[in-house]
């Protein structure tokens, strides 16, 4: 291993996880087999909106090997309906009532209607085909704006409205304050030199983890329920199972497998399928497993964005941005998922609308409509993909109107110093936006590009440059997470030292491939002066780990490793207290160095002890201790920053557009990132690459399509196209970091919101290339056919 322990923080260490992952010895949910395990298959609705006249399960039950078939009514009196407080945000909304399976009515194509349990998966699949559901088709609700009009058919009839959530995010809490604010914003618009006004539409797209969802539940009367779930938040799932199934808390243990093939938000909600499987395992007293198919996954989860934003921006003719006014309408889908309900993502997207710019005022409102589509589920860049596309495009439109370079206009309007509170009341704790921006511009020779662009245009070729930037949450503080998801934001870690000088770390979050074992080990190794290979990290088991709200919102680099660092600090205190006692010196932790596997007294370097011996002495030989000390070396720390924290990034993209075909090619993608103190550059680079590729794939290829009857037409990878390596450019990542002053190591949580500045930067570049045609694009996906259509319109051929 090349890195010495002292260099461990910031070392490009190979990931600890990768040996098992690349040698096929990872252990995923589907690799866990229990004796006597049964297999579950869900029968799902083939209609977007239909009344269930009857369900005939007799043929399915008669098939040899079938153990049970459940329908909605089996749950109605035995499982509590959602919503329940454990999975309900503290935000006022029309929370739909629902059970694990549809009752009376199906509300989207793919909704679970029946559950078949059989001795193997093949029998279960065959039996599921024998379940006959008699449907009476109803008019589906598919357009979010029309869904909010009077007289629209209703998705949830008992709610009396399709408006699941509405909020004004600016001006204050009362309608009076909000109106006063709206009037003030209107006055700014009246007096502004420039007003840009546009309808921005972002399609339904999101994320498709390599491993779909799954759950394996085991029940016995002595110990209760053990549930292995592909989940980002095992502790929340545990509480939900306790509350909804009415099982005593000590009888429920949830384990997120150590290896999960990605989460990206999709595995963060509490899903009705998990509840149904847990119910069946308890009822049958047998292990029951459900593994989601790709088809089911694309039908039901990973769908996000899908929003219209009517955005107006007021500016001065010197380029100063003055005010923004936005009316967002989001397509929530059916809203039957725990924790998020579909609308929590658009809510945060609206909060993050002002981005990194200073505004004198803003009037930001959001309405969210239920429709007969799958619920929006969290998808990396939680909520702000559509709002950021709108704002980044609008900024470019202002620049074009005032005749400024978009990059110069951005720099002029970036928040110049932090902390800062946005017009939507979002707190930006720390960082240096201008430094990040200047670093980006240092990577790009803009005058040379403009010269090249002019020469190319003269030769009939169209080059364009586009910029974008993004403020992202670095972890989610309790201050925001309690109202938004009814959960705490703190990070928690238990650090246990082993008599042989090794370190075991336990965390309640549940990563899905981000490399947390490696980054955590590097943090521990750097603090104890040992090797990363001496550290073992266990995550995701509620039976062994402290409570954590889950692997969400970039919590690892911000909250979790900070808790780890604090726990290590406590243990170092104890080790040095006892070592000083043994050495008969007056000294405390700052007088010692933990280095190269030793603990060294700085006042006399001959006074030293190996880390292993120092640890073993305290754990195994707790005699002759200082007064008041007891043996043992284990500590659980809870970390919470006083305020929410952020990270910041900027993108530059250069494209060439073929104005005959509308095709375009990304010639360069360069970034500038403030990610705080870097623990492992390989992993940070990987997060950025993955996020940018996701942003490009969402913007250019991926789209969940529903037809005019609400049939989901993109439930396989032939119809839901993902970017491949050949579709994306080389990505140049550069850094302009500032340590976060609110974490012990200066680290920031990164990677979660990162895709959101990508579609704006890309579309800005295409529009810059097409500036001679006066083309401004305000919709996604950005594909050659759209560009070609815009070109035809601009040439009067449309």
């Amino acid at each position: 291993m090349a890195a010495t322990p002292q260099d461990m923080l910031g070392a490009r260490l190979p990931r600890k996880e990768d040996l098992r992952l690349v040698t096929g010895t990872g252990k995923y949910l589907a690799d866990i087999l229990l004796p006597g395990m049964l297999h579950a298959v869900f029968v799902r609705s083939e209609y977007a909106h239909a009344r269930i006249r009857g369900i005939d399960t007799s043929e399915a039950l008669a098939l040899h090997g079938v153990v049970a078939v459940y329908t909605g009514i089996d749950f109605k009196d035995t499982v509590k309906p959602m919503p329940q407080p454990v999975v309900q945000p503290n935000l006022p909304a029309r929370y739909p009532t629902f059970w694990p399976l549809a009752i009376d009515k199906v509300k989207h194509h793919g909704e679970p209607v029946a559950l078949v349990i059989a001795r193997d998966k093949y029998v279960a699949v065959d039996a599921a085909e024998l379940v006959v559901v008699d449907y009476e088709e109803l008019t589906p609700v598919l357009d979010p704006e029309r869904a909010l009009e009077d007289g629209s058919p209703l998705v949830h009839e008992e709610d009396g409205s399709n408006e699941i959530f509405a909020m004004t995010l600016t001006g204050g809490l009362t309608e009076e304050e909000q109106q006063r604010n709206a009037d003030a914003v209107e006055r700014i618009f009246q007096g502004a030199d420039i007003v840009v006004k546009e309808r921005f539409r972002v399609h339904r797209t999101g994320i498709t983890p390599m491993e779909p969802r799954g759950v394996l539940c085991d029940w016995n009367d002595a110990d209760g329920l053990t549930a292995w779930i592909t989940t980002q938040r095992p502790h929340i799932d545990r509480l939900a199972l306790i509350d909804l199934l009415d099982i005593p808390g000590e009888q429920v243990r949830v384990i997120a497998p150590r290896d999960q093939g990605g989460g990206f938000g999709v595995k963060a909600p509490f899903y009705r399928e998990n509840l149904a499987i847990a119910y069946a395992a308890r009822a049958l007293k047998r292990p029951v497993r459900w593994i989601e198919s790709r088809y089911e996954s694309l039908m039901n989860v990973g769908q996000e964005r899908d929003q219209v934003n009517y955005l107006e921006v007021a500016a001065r003719k010197d380029g100063k941005l003055l005010a923004l006014r936005n009316r967002g309408v989001a397509d929530n889908g059916v809203g039957t998922t725990g924790v998020y309900w579909g609308f929590v993502m658009p809510f945060l997207g609206a909060v993050e609308m002002p981005n990194a710019y200073t505004w004198e005022a803003g009037d930001v409102r959001l309405r969210v409509a239920t429709t007969n589509k799958a619920s929006l589920t969290p998808s990396r860049a939680f909520g702000h993909f559509p709002t950021r596309f709108a704002i980044e495009r609008a900024v470019d439109m202002v620049a074009r109107r005032v005749g400024m370079e978009p990059s110069a206009l951005r720099r002029m309007n970036l928040v110049p110093s932090l902390p800062y509170t946005s017009v939507t009341n979002e707190y930006y704790d720390s960082g240096d936006f201008l430094r990040v921006w200047d670093n980006l511009m240092a990577q790009v020779d803009l005058p040379a590009f403009r010269a090249e662009q002019a020469a190319a245009r003269a030769a009939g070729r169209y080059l364009g440059i586009g910029f974008g930037c993004g403020v992202e949450l670095s972890g989610v503080a309790s201050e925001l997470l309690v109202p938004m998801e009814n959960q705490p934001g703190y990070g928690a870690a238990t650090v246990r030292l082993d008599p042989r000088g090794k370190v075991l770390v336990f965390g309640g979050d549940a990563p899905g491939g981000q490399g947390h074992e490696t980054t955590t080990a590097q943090v521990v190794a750097s603090l104890f002066g040992i090797q990363a290979s001496d550290v073992v990290v266990t995550t995701g088991d509620t039976g062994t780990t402290p409570f954590g709200s889950g692997s969400i919102g970039a919590r690892a680099g911000s909250y979790f490793v900070s808790a780890v660092a604090e726990a290590c600090g406590e243990l170092k205190d104890k080790i040095t207290r006892i070592l000083a006692h043994d050495l008969q010196i007056e000294a405390s932790v700052q007088h010692f160095e933990f280095k190269n596997g030793e603990v060294v007294y700085l006042g006399d370097r001959s006074k030293r002890k190996s880390f292993r011996d120092a640890v073993e002495r305290i754990i195994m030989f707790p005699i002759n201790m200082p007064e008041g000390e007891v043996g043992g070396l284990e500590y659980t720390a809870f970390f919470e920053a006083a305020k929410p924290m952020i990270c910041f990034n900027a993108d530059c993209c250069i494209v060439e557009v073929n104005v005959d075909t509308g095709d375009f090619e990304i010639r360069r993608w360069v970034t500038s990132e403030d990610v705080g103190t870097v623990i492992n550059p390989n992993i940070v680079d990987g997060q950025m690459h993955g996020a940018i590729v996701q942003g490009l794939s969402n913007a250019m290829f991926e789209e969940f399509v529903y037809d005019e009857r609400g049939q989901q037409m993109s439930a396989d990878f032939e119809h839901y196209k993902l970017a491949t390596a050949a579709d994306v450019p080389d990505i140049e990542i550069t850094y302009a970091t500032t340590p976060c002053p609110h974490t012990p190591l200066g680290t920031r949580g990164i990677g979660e919101g990162r895709p959101s500045s990508v579609p704006g930067a890309l579309t800005n570049a295409v529009c810059d290339a097409l500036a001679p045609f006066g083309i401004e694009i305000a919709e996604l996906p950005l594909r050659p056919n759209l560009v070609w259509r815009k070109l035809r319109e601009a040439r009067g051929e449309g």
Binding site: R709, Q712, S714
Partner: protein, 195 residues
């Protein structure tokens, strides 16, 4: 989903109309037909099995006829269920015109397809629809038509008002057909059309 088409059948109009009402002929001509029964003069049920791409399904359908003007025209509406494979809902207008000794059969169809079938996508569905329709009209012509050189005559392609050309029988003719029809739909449409 809409389709308009014209088929030329080598038999007089009255014979074609009668054959379209003859469940024995239909049972023989419809690929995969397992049962077809007239419930009343204007209602019938049918069961047809078909393989569309990876989906093998048995469809049960029922059809209602209206606006009957023998031997010229009628309209039909129907619904078919293919269990886990999906469902279709169809409405159609059929018109027969004498063309010398032969008959031109014009039809237009509006169809809604749902479930897994709908998700298979154009390429597979189109291919199946083309194949099944070809098989049906080949059989129908063989059963009803004049069995001589007329059967070798080139297809009477008439551009239709919508986005369509025409074709019929004899294997895989109709290379220009813009079939937008689901495979199962094709089966059901044939059932219903040829009532």
């Amino acid at each position: 989903m809409q389709l308009t088409e014209q088929i030329r059948i080598n038999a007089p109009r009255e014979a074609v109309f009668a054959a379209l009402n003859d469940v024995d002929i239909l049972r023989q001509a419809i690929p995969g037909c397992e049962a077809i029964d007239a419930v009343s003069p204007t209602e019938m049920t049918a069961t047809v099995s078909a393989k569309v791409g990876p989906l093998k399904a048995r469809f049960s359908g029922q059809v209602t006829l209206a606006d009957l003007v023998p031997p010229e025209s009628y309209t039909l509406s129907g619904e078919g269920k293919g269990g886990p494979a999906g469902h279709v809902r169809v409405s159609s207008r059929v018109k027969l015109t004498a063309d010398g000794a032969a008959t031109l059969l014009d039809y237009d169809v509006k169809a809604d397809i749902g479930g897994k079938l709908a998700q298979l996508g154009g390429a597979i569905v189109e291919k199946t629809a083309r194949k099944l329709a070809g098989e049906f009209f080949a059989s129908f012509n063989a059963l009803v038509g004049v069995p001589e050189s007329a059967a070798e005559a080139p297809p009477a392609a008439t551009p239709a008002p919508v986005e369509t050309s025409a074709s019929h029988g004899h294997g895989h003719g109709g290379e220009h057909l813009p079939w937008v029809l689901g495979g199962a739909l094709a089966v059901l449409v044939i059932v219903w059309l040829t009532r």
